[in-house]
């Protein structure tokens, strides 16, 4: 066998190597029964430090099979920001329920490691392995409340369907390999021929597998149940951060490699996108449970984001990435408020403004941002996606998205209405911890200041 003569460039992987070491370290440290604050803040500080480390090591490794380019770095930063926010949420929640932090934190770290590898992978095998590292860790996170039947149910459900979708995707990859005899993206671009039935079949299966993971309709059935059953901070995590990684990787593969098949996959995704927007928004309307509502809302957002992929240009992809950044702030923020109020029934949000004006104001900002009303950041990124779509001639798709945006206003505003305009039913038991307050503050700043000064746009 020929040994590749290209330099391996291990140092490009430095952030990931450090991350692996650190996550294993936290796993071992758990044995020492340290104070939970130490584990938590150590992880957070490390994750923040990693943001700076990631920036230091751009480049390609393993002959182009691993690439840490600008967009990968951008995505990794969003992933790490999402991870930090989720850790903050996790801490106060687990403390309340006496769940060991040293179990949850390393799992979350490993899952983020998988995501970071995923956005850098330029080869199908490492792509798949990273994806599985991410997914397996998430299954564990969903079931972290071992004695809670709902958490268990959600974990099993997620595991089953997740395994199924992984198998589909793997089959797709195998078909593509069969047609092209390579798994490397750079080689794939060269050998990919148009009108190969085998490649097309593989591509479809591959897309279906990924659509499972980001819960596009009709592959979304698992999402509401899992999101509802999982512990709330885990829901915040899994409805946000993995989507960043998968959409990031997904978009690159579709746009960079399979651009010859643009007509095929875009028409496929158009159908999924419209269906997703419709089902996500319409099913969110009657929900009485706020976690379920946010689950459907996150399905709907996946639909809007897919519009950016359908555009099929680099600008469209950049719009998707920018969207995911703001989505991280507003979605995790909304879940943070749900954790703070410790209420799942929307009815119980009535009159909360009376008791907690600051939290209510934060929720108001998140809801308007999710709707996409200026001057919040949610508007800027939505505008960005719509702009790219109009540029590529998808005006009708924008009109559809706009109509569903109007529908979404109703259920987002209902939360605001309950909090501000109805009389309270009962005084809520609010969990106020410093961690949670910091997370909410960061999310509020992210979804307002970035709306007025959009420096993050690429």
């Amino acid at each position: 066998m020929r040994i590749p003569s290209v330099p391996l460039e291990f140092k490009v992987l430095m952030p990931e190597i450090l991350f692996t070491a650190f996550a294993s370290f936290i796993l071992l440290v758990g044995l020492l029964k340290l104070r939970r604050e130490i584990i938590l803040w150590l992880s957070i500080l490390f994750s923040l430090a990693l943001i700076f480390i990631v920036i230091q090591y751009p480049g390609d490794a393993f002959g182009g099979m691993f690439s840490n380019d600008f967009l990968a770095i951008y995505l990794k930063i969003i992933i790490l920001v999402g991870l930090v926010l989720s850790l903050l949420l996790l801490s106060s929640y687990l403390k309340e329920r006496l769940i060991a932090l040293y179990e949850a934190v390393p799992v979350a770290l490993f899952s983020s490691l998988g995501m970071m590898l995923l956005v850098s992978a330029r080869e199908f095998i490492s792509f798949f392995v990273s994806l599985e590292l991410m997914s397996l860790s998430i299954y564990v996170l969903v079931g972290i409340r071992r004695y809670d039947i709902r958490s268990n149910e959600a974990a099993v459900k997620y595991f089953m369907l997740g395994g199924f979708s992984s198998a589909l995707m793997l089959f797709g990859i195998a078909l593509i390999y069969g047609a092209t005899n390579t798994t490397e993206f750079s080689a794939l671009v060269k050998v990919l021929s148009t009108n190969s039935m085998l490649t097309l079949a593989g591509l479809v299966l591959f897309i279906v597998g990924l659509c499972f993971k980001i819960a596009l309709v009709p592959f979304h059935m698992w999402a509401p149940d899992v999101y509802e059953g999982a512990p709330t901070p885990v829901t915040a995590f899994i409805s946000t951060v993995p989507k960043i990684a998968i959409l990031g990787a997904f978009g690159r593969i579709l746009i960079d490699i399979f651009d010859k098949y643009y007509a095929d996959w875009s028409s496929f995704l158009i159908v999924l996108s419209v269906l997703t927007m419709a089902v996500g928004n319409l099913f969110a309307l009657p929900q009485r449970n706020i976690k379920r509502m946010l689950a459907y809302s996150s399905i709907a957002h996946a639909g809007y984001v897919t519009v950016g992929l359908i555009v099929g240009t680099q600008a469209g992809y950049n719009a998707v990435v920018a969207y995911m950044l703001i989505y991280t702030f507003m979605n995790i923020g909304a879940f943070a408020i749900v954790i703070a109020f410790n209420e799942e029934d929307i009815e119980n949000y009535k009159g909360l403004h009376k008791f907690h004006p600051a939290f209510s104001l934060a929720m108001l900002i998140f809801m308007f941002s999710l709707t996409g009303v200026p001057p919040t950041a949610g508007f800027i990124v939505k505008f960005n996606i719509f702009l790219q779509a109009v540029k590529s001639g998808f005006t009708w798709l924008v009109v559809v998205a706009v109509i569903f945006t109007v529908i979404s206003a109703y259920y987002y505003l209902r939360v605001v209405m309950y909090m501000y305009m109805k009389d309270p039913i009962k005084k809520p038991l609010v969990i106020v911890s410093k961690d949670l307050e910091i997370a909410i503050l960061v999310c509020v700043l992210g979804s307002t200041v970035l709306g007025i000064i959009p420096v993050f746009l690429i």
Binding site: L387, V390, V399, Y410
Partner: protein, 538 residues
């Protein structure tokens, strides 16, 4: 707490209150003089428009951090901030150059370099007066809410100030993206104002208001995206100079129409208005009627007319018909209203019909009359809503049947109400007459039949307003009402000071309309020249 202590605390509070008023007012005047002299020295290089936009935001943030127990302090802060804002806006009136149609007080900074979007502000003869009107009405909104708003006071005044910011932002923006940001941002505080502090059906009305306007606005957003994509620019002044293909003009005309027609509101998209106006607290109604619905008509003038002139000319008959339907329909519905506030709300539909009729007459008289009538309507209907709010505060009912003989109990109030009634029905000598006369003149030039039909509404207008006045102020005094009025009596000085500026404006514009017409003369001429130049009007 012992009762003596309460009395003692009350005394201290009174004392504090007096000192506060004096010191705050002195502060305002000193600050005002400094600012004005600052403008004079700076030769107007001062970023006056940005200051106007951001000062209320800072004010709202300041109010938000005040402790919520200090209600008096919150109210006075809001009053001082709004008065200061009014003083700040005076240079717009004093040093506005009436001889040019160019944008004035320009400010321009690159905002989102990736898209080439600019933070670009400026006012011309069409928009400058709305900024002034908004500043004036915001002060009055603060004073009229003094006693009416008794819960979540902090949030209320912050919302009022933020609404003001968003509204003047709409009139000042010269970048279409910035325009849209302000246009939509206004929805959030307004939704809260109607939904939190409104009447019994406030939640229904607030959601209806939000959804209606949001639907319209999003269609405009698609239009903006298409414009932006087609031209690669978001500069309104640049967009005006481009000639678009006719088919595109037509689509864009309807996209923008969706947003503006909902806001105006034009028949048949008006149904949110009676609900929102009726259920909103007095200040909310005043803002809605005074400024907010003018944003729609302003949008027609700023976007539809100059950017899509051929589509506009072709749609002119249709628009005029819609306007006349709104005029007559609104007026007829007023006749059967049992609710005071709802009656005035429907009269808004009728009056705004006049405005759009004037605008789509597409001639100097029509458009000038339309703009003047917008200002008149802001003053008069704003004042009528203020009056109704004052009455509601006393009797806690809006039903006309519950009143009667108010004139015998509240003579000063009746005089004010009479002034505004006469202005509303367009009596010569009041501002209403000038506006409606110009509009009818313009419409007569454009399409005689429509002008004649619209003129009939003047008669219906006189009928419903005078009948309303008769039922509420004359006839037998309602004993129920007398019982409620006990302890309140006629207007107090705060209320008189609230109504007086508007009453003076009614007479002032009525006798000397050139004070306002002079502002818009050149700009409107330029607008019409622009349409003629494109070749749309033969």
């Amino acid at each position: 707490m012992h009762s003596e202590e309460v009395v003692y605390n009350g005394k201290i509070r009174l004392e504090l209150k007096k000192n506060l008023i004096i010191s705050l007012l002195v502060g305002v005047f000193i600050g005002g003089t400094i600012v004005l002299s600052g403008y004079a020295i700076n030769g107007l290089k001062f970023p006056i428009l940005s200051t106007l936009i951001f000062f209320p935001v800072i004010g709202a943030a300041f109010i938000a951090i005040l402790p919520k127990e200090k209600e008096e302090l919150i109210k006075f802060s809001a009053l001082v901030i709004s008065i200061f804002e009014l003083i700040l806006s005076l240079p717009l009136y004093l040093s506005f150059d009436k001889t040019t149609s160019q944008m004035q007080f320009r400010e321009e900074y690159l905002w989102i370099p990736q898209w080439g979007i600019k933070y670009s502000l400026g006012v011309d003869g069409i928009s400058v007066l709305f900024v002034l009107l908004s500043s004036l009405l915001t002060v009055l909104c603060v004073t009229v809410s003094w006693r009416e708003i008794d819960k979540k006071i902090k949030e209320f005044y912050a919302s009022i100030l933020l609404t003001h910011t968003a509204m003047i932002g709409v009139f000042m923006s010269l970048d279409i993206f910035l325009f849209y940001i302000f246009w939509e941002a206004m929805l959030i505080p307004m939704y809260l104002i109607v939904g939190i502090w409104g009447g019994p059906r406030r939640i229904y009305s607030a959601i209806k208001f939000f959804i209606y306007t949001f639907v319209g606005s999003l269609f405009m957003l698609v239009g903006i995206l298409v414009l932006f994509f087609y031209t690669g620019s978001s500069d309104i002044l640049h967009l005006m100079r481009i000639h678009y293909p006719y088919k595109m003009q037509l689509w864009l005309f309807w996209a923008f129409f969706a947003a503006f027609a909902v806001k105006v509101p034009m028949w048949p998209l008006h149904t949110w208005l009676p609900d929102a106006h009726t259920e909103a607290p007095t200040a909310g109604s005043v803002i809605l009627a005074g400024i907010l619905i003018k944003m729609g008509a302003y949008g027609f003038l700023r976007f539809n007319l100059p950017m899509f002139p051929e589509a506009t000319v072709n749609m002119k008959p249709f628009m005029m018909i819609l306007s006349v339907i709104a005029i007559i329909y609104g007026a007829l519905i007023c006749l059967i209203q049992k609710d005071l506030k709802r009656l005035i709300a429907y009269s808004s539909v009728s009056h705004m019909g006049f405005v759009t009729l004037g605008i789509f007459a597409l001639n100097q008289q029509g458009i000038q009359g339309g703009i003047l009538q917008m200002l008149n309507h802001g003053v008069v209907t704003g004042a009528l809503f203020l009056c109704v709010g004052m009455l509601y505060e006393r009797a806690h009912t809006r039903l006309i049947a519950h009143y009667g003989g108010v004139a015998t109990v509240m003579p000063a109030y009746s005089a004010f109400f009479m002034t505004f009634t006469l202005a509303s029905l367009g009596l010569p000598g009041t501002n209403g007459f000038i506006g409606e006369f110009l509009i009818l003149l313009g419409a007569f030039k454009a399409w005689k039949l429509m002008s004649v039909l619209a003129a009939t509404a003047l008669i219906i207008g006189a009928a419903y307003m005078l009948w309303l006045y008769q039922r509420v102020f004359f006839e037998k005094t309602n004993p129920e009402f007398l019982r409620h009025i006990h302890g309140y009596g006629d207007l107090n000085s705060r209320e008189i000071l609230t109504l007086l500026p508007l009453a003076l404006a009614v007479v002032w514009i009525g006798f000397y309309p050139n004070a306002l017409l002079g502002f818009m003369d050149v700009s409107v001429k330029e607008l019409i020249n622009h349409i003629v130049h494109i070749g749309a009007i033969r």
